[in-house]
């Protein structure tokens, strides 16, 4: 019995446009969430896939022992591609020359991600990665592919023989690009590739050999996750399942940061959309008061009324969700197409598909928004007194402020949590939103006092504006809150974006070292410096490298782990936790750049007692404090040094970094090799050939590709953020319009009265402009305040970046806020000042 009237009421309301704004607000929320999460997810996947080149796969399972074939083959059930390689260090021989090489014995379609390039002809004097062809899979049996250094150091050319263990191979190619090349200067033997089927012939696998079994997988993210879950119970502790994100590399770090930022921006967008829905739900309910009172008068029961309006809302919400999904889908496709168009090189060939997650998140956003935000307005609506049909100014009782706050806060929090799945982030975002609300009610109170404190004159546009704000004090404070939220979002995105990009740029400024030089003998330091000077290449300081193991801290011997990181029970019994492996140590007279001292002091050059400086994170992990004494074994010698400083180290910087730096008194006399880093422009690549020919024992690591990838990520994230900024700005304009729309009727009436009583157009225009200017300025000021607090919280607790105050932000936000709101507000109210006063008689009488 309720359905028919409900349907016809809905039809009428749709015709009259009563529900249009509510529908649009829900569609807006769903559009923002769907496009943001869809775009964010796909972009992230694209970044991961592209960055996975650095692993040569999406996931790598590595182990010191072979893993059961059944386990590996079960990946086929999950539609994964697989390949594997066995890796070991081994001496290789060519005639009388020999060299320690890192051997990869490959089986299957290696690499699964990224390109392996092999040149079948001798190299020419051009950048390496421009030479050779892309190859998938191992060399043919009996063949070996070698790194250019091997050719130079063993004086080989294509077609020559190379012995690995007991087997002899023919050099059939030179690797010019290896996707998963090592970036570690401390483990820098040149790499050779052989076919895995040749391994038995080499007789290298003996009991006690140090081998690594690496199983590579690629496929859909969900399949990879499902496969991992299925094998997880069978994996041992020393069998690692790695992805690019889990790597402790500058790339992984940047990816994680970019991810979090996209997430945060999307979260803020959701709050904005929710605000629009909340405002329109309240307005819808207010507009229905007469209808409900009339229905009650006509004898409609409460339950039927509830059904009628729940039906209306549910229908509108469904329509809004569908509209939002369509718009969101188109938007994220467009955004992704823009990335593909502007940066084709930074996307993988096969673009990642959209998963169900954005769909689920955005549908639940629409449902939660429609249900929760219309809950209190609807309950209020159902309570409308029947007497309203006679006394139209009778209002249903308002819900307590705290109850409204609780429902609103609860809804926002559940949205944030669903979306981010991060409790801390959701709580911080919610707290900031709460803070904004509190500050705004305070401002609204101040506004009331201000407007009532002065003598009123209708001839002053300022006083008309203030009176208008006063009249709408509760709505005005909400309006200010929404605009402040929008401005705050824009500011946070703008500032964080700049700071993130700045920080990333700082990390890899122009001229960042793109080569590491290792294994430099003391007598080579001078001539190499001269050679570098000849080519006008600036190097970092040369750092002496001495391998050593910390064996005791104070009186306690170190226990726990062996050099492979495996638990060593014998060691575990005694002593405390140590580094668990041999370290590369260095000594210096001066503090390295960008290694700020956190505690203690750097030593003076003439210090005769052995001292050591330790990196802060490892000091905290191993509970090492200033004044502690570290005993370090270097060869057969034992060095005892006191910890006199604790340093911060930026591990992402492209510089040699060390956990422990000793003073000259401690290690100055130890035999050592040196390492250095330098930036070499592409056109100076001949220097590399000269270096390696002259000093064949040098190790050279190129990090060009890594740096290029980092830059690409920065560019992509910047573009993504620009898109999110655009969406947020659009959403905030819509929120503002929704707010103005909500006050339109009252404004209309006021303006027509004023106009009828003889107020000039100019006066009214000025009053409207001033009202919005004040509104915007207050919103801007509040936004600046809350942005500062939010940035502090976000930077300190979420993305761990140093926080600094932004004095210019206050002025900027206030000015931008007032101009932005005044421009949109006056535009939206333009019709009002143009209405002929006769509207008054026609509409209001």
């Amino acid at each position: 019995m309720w359905f028919k009237p409900a349907k016809s009421l809905l039809k009428q309301q749709l015709k009259r446009g009563e529900l249009t704004i509510f529908l649009l607000a829900i569609a807006l929320a769903v559009t923002s969430v769907f496009s943001l999460s869809g775009f964010g997810e796909r972009l992230n996947q694209a970044l991961v896939v592209k960055s996975s080149n650095f692993l040569a796969a999406d996931r790598v399972l590595s182990s010191a022992h072979p893993i059961d074939d059944k386990l590996i083959n079960s990946s086929e059930q999950f539609s994964l591609n697989k390949a594997n390689y066995l890796s070991f260090n081994s001496m290789v021989f060519a005639g009388d020359e020999m060299l320690l090489a890192y051997t990869k014995a490959v089986s299957g379609p290696y690499p699964l991600r990224g390109d392996l390039k092999i040149s079948r002809t001798p190299l020419i004097n051009a950048p390496l990665d421009t030479q050779g062809e892309v190859i998938v899979g191992p060399p043919q049996q009996g063949n070996v592919w070698v790194a250019p250094e091997v050719l130079i150091r063993l004086q080989l050319s294509i077609g020559d023989k190379l012995d690995v263990g007991d087997a002899t191979f023919t050099v059939s190619g030179i690797t010019t690009e290896v996707p998963d090349a090592s970036f570690s200067i401390f483990n820098s033997s040149p790499t050779i590739f052989i076919n895995q089927q040749d391994v038995p012939a080499t007789n290298i696998i003996q009991p006690g050999s140090r081998l690594y079994y690496n199983y590579l997988f690629s496929g859909e993210e969900s399949d990879l996750a499902a496969y991992y879950q299925s094998i997880k119970p069978s994996l041992k502790t020393n069998q690692n399942w790695e992805d690019i994100k889990g790597e402790k590399s500058p790339l992984a770090n940047s990816l994680a940061r970019a991810n979090q930022f996209l997430l945060l921006a999307s979260l803020l967008g959701i709050i904005l959309a929710a605000t629009a829905i909340s405002v329109t739900a309240a307005r819808f309910s207010q507009n229905q008061l007469d209808a409900v009172a009339l229905l009650k008068t006509l004898g409609t029961s409460d339950s039927v009324i509830r059904k009628i309006f729940t039906f209306q809302l549910a229908t509108i919400a469904t329509l809004g969700v569908i509209l939002g999904l369509i718009a969101g889908y188109i938007l994220q496709e467009l955004a992704f197409a823009a990335v593909a168009y502007y940066m084709p090189q930074s996307l993988p060939e096969q673009l990642p598909a959209l998963s169900f997650k954005p769909l689920l998140i955005s549908v639940s956003t629409g449902v939660i928004c429609a249900a929760m935000f219309s809950l209190t307005p609807m309950l209020r609506l159902f309570k409308v007194p029947v007497m309203r049909v006679i006394k139209r100014d009778m209002q249903p009782t308002q819900f307590k402020l705290w109850l409204n706050g609780l429902v609103f806060g609860g809804a926002i929090f559940s949205l944030l949590l669903i979306y981010s799945q991060d409790l801390t982030l959701s709580l911080i975002t919610l707290c900031v939103a709460g803070l904004v609300a509190a500050i705004l009610s305070f401002i609204a109170m101040g506004l009331i006092r201000l407007s009532r404190g002065k003598k009123f004159s209708a001839a002053s546009p300022w006083q008309l504006a203030i009176a208008s704000l006063y009249q709408r004090a509760p709505q005005a404070s909400m309006q200010i809150a929404s605009i402040a939220t929008a401005i705050m979002l824009m500011l946070i995105i703008l500032l964080l974006r700049n700071e993130l990009v700045d920080e990333w740029q700082d990390q890899i400024p122009q001229g960042t070292a793109n080569h590491f030089l290792g294994n430099v003998m003391p007598d080579q330091v001078e001539p190499i410096n001269e050679l570098m000077a000849k080519y006008d290449v600036e190097t970092s300081d040369l750092y002496p490298i001495i391998r050593g193991r910390v064996v005791a801290i104070n009186e306690d011997t170190i226990g726990g782990y062996d050099s492979e990181g495996n638990v060593d029970n014998e060691r575990k019994r005694s002593g405390r936790r140590g580094f668990g492996r041999e370290l590369s140590l260095t000594w210096r007279d001066t503090l390295p750049k960008q290694n700020p001292i956190q505690q203690g002091e750097w030593w003076s050059i003439d210090q005769l007692e052995p001292e050591v400086s330790i990196e802060e994170e490892v000091a905290a992990r191993l509970d090492i404090k200033l004044g502690d004494v570290l005993v370090t074994n270097i060869g057969e010698e034992q060095i005892t040094a006191t910890v006199t400083s604790i340093r911060k180290v930026d591990w992402r910087s492209m510089r040699p970094n060390f956990f422990l730096i000793f003073n000259r008194a401690a290690l100055g006399d130890m035999p050592s090799t040196y390492i250095s880093s330098f930036h070499l422009p592409t056109e100076q690549h001949p220097l590399l050939n000269e270096l390696l020919t002259e000093y064949p024992t040098l190790s050279l690591i190129k990090v060009d590709r890594l740096i290029k990838k980092l830059r690409e990520i920065i560019e992509q994230v910047s573009l993504a953020l620009s898109y999110i900024m655009l969406l947020v700005v659009c959403a905030s304009i819509l929120v503002l319009l929704v707010q103005i729309q909500a006050s339109y009727q009252q404004r209309h009436q006021d303006l027509v009265i004023l106009r009828t009583l003889g107020a000039g157009k100019q006066l009214l225009k000025q009053a409207i402009a001033i009202e919005f200017l004040i509104c915007g300025a207050l919103a801007g000021f509040t936004a600046a305040l809350t942005t500062e607090v939010a940035l502090f919280l976000i930077q300190t607790f979420v993305i761990e970046m140093p926080w600094q105050p932004h004095p210019s932000l206050w002025l900027l936000a206030t000015v931008i806020g007032s101009l932005f709101v005044a421009a949109i507000g006056t535009r939206a109210c333009k019709d009002l000042t143009h209405l002929p006063p006769n509207e008054l008689i026609r509409n209001l009488s």
């Binding site: 100014d393 009123f456 004159s457 209708a458 001839a459 009176a467 208008s468 006063y470 009249q471 009252q746 009436q749 006021d750 009265i753 004023l754 106009r755 009828t756 009583l757 003889g758 107020a759 000039g760 157009k761 006066l763 002929p836 006063p837 006769n838 008054l840 008689i841 026609r842 209001l844 009488s845």
Partner: protein, 243 residues
């Protein structure tokens, strides 16, 4: 010009007034060539069924809207030749309004609402005038109350005080007692005619209430966009034009 000026006592002169509006399928003529003269100090009621064009005529006479054709002279000013802004100035100077739904600004107190037209017209002593008028309508003790703190009758008294503050030559009232109960309605009625007499204002009243209309000197009945006139017992004047 000379013929209009000759009728010095006519404060409102309407000649062949036509108002057409655009509707879905063409034009609708709401007022069909109306002519009408109103003398200074006269009270005139416009009555008629809903949709007969009463409010449209009132809006045109008060300069709230512009006509499609014809002339309206308001205290010698050619309303039909003025643009909207000039009509606004004219209203501020010479016209007062009272509406059925009072239409007070909710943001302003009773006193501020009364002061409003005087301030817009640049009067220096707006506050004193407003207080005096509030006293006349018996609301001087509630000058700092907001409209939502006043009853319907009280709100209409404030509106009447507001209407008289600029000492308008012409007062337009649209169903002034329409939203009020009998007692309050009579009170407002009395007040309206009393002040009208005191200020020697011309009163143009749109109403459904025959008793209220009967208090006016002239009654114009509107029907389908045309007017006809009947003389009331209060009439001291001769019938002028009937079209």
């Amino acid at each position: 010009m000379s013929e209009q000026v000759a009728e010095q006592k006519d404060i409102i002169i309407v000649k062949n007034l036509i108002k057409r509006v655009e509707v879905n399928n063409g034009q609708l003529e709401i007022l069909k060539s109306i002519s009408l003269n109103v003398k200074q100090g006269q009270s005139i009621a416009i009555v008629g069924a809903s949709g007969s064009g009463k409010s449209t005529l009132l809006g045109l006479l008060a300069g709230l809207d512009s006509s499609t054709f014809g002339e309206i002279w308001l205290d010698n000013a050619p309303l039909h030749e003025l643009d909207e802004e000039q009509r606004t100035h004219l209203r501020a100077e010479k016209v007062g309004f009272i509406f059925q739904s009072f239409l007070l600004l909710p943001a302003l107190t009773a006193l501020e609402n009364v002061m409003l037209p005087a301030q817009l017209a640049g009067h220096k002593d707006a506050e004193q005038q407003a207080l005096a008028l509030l006293k006349k309508v018996g609301l001087d003790h509630r000058d700092d109350h907001y409209p939502n703190q006043l009853s319907g009758g009280e709100q209409q008294r404030v509106a009447i005080a507001r209407a008289f503050i600029c000492q308008p030559k012409i007062l337009f009232a649209d169903e002034p007692t329409g939203n009020l109960d009998g007692d309050n309605g009579h009170r407002i009625e009395r007040l309206l005619f009393e002040l009208n007499e005191q200020h020697h204002t011309t009163l143009v009243l749109v109403t459904h209430d025959p008793k209220l209309a009967a208090n006016c000197q002239r009654i114009i009945t509107m029907s389908d966009g045309t007017i006809s006139e009947q003389q009331t017992t209060n009439s001291q004047e001769e019938l002028t034009h009937v079209v």
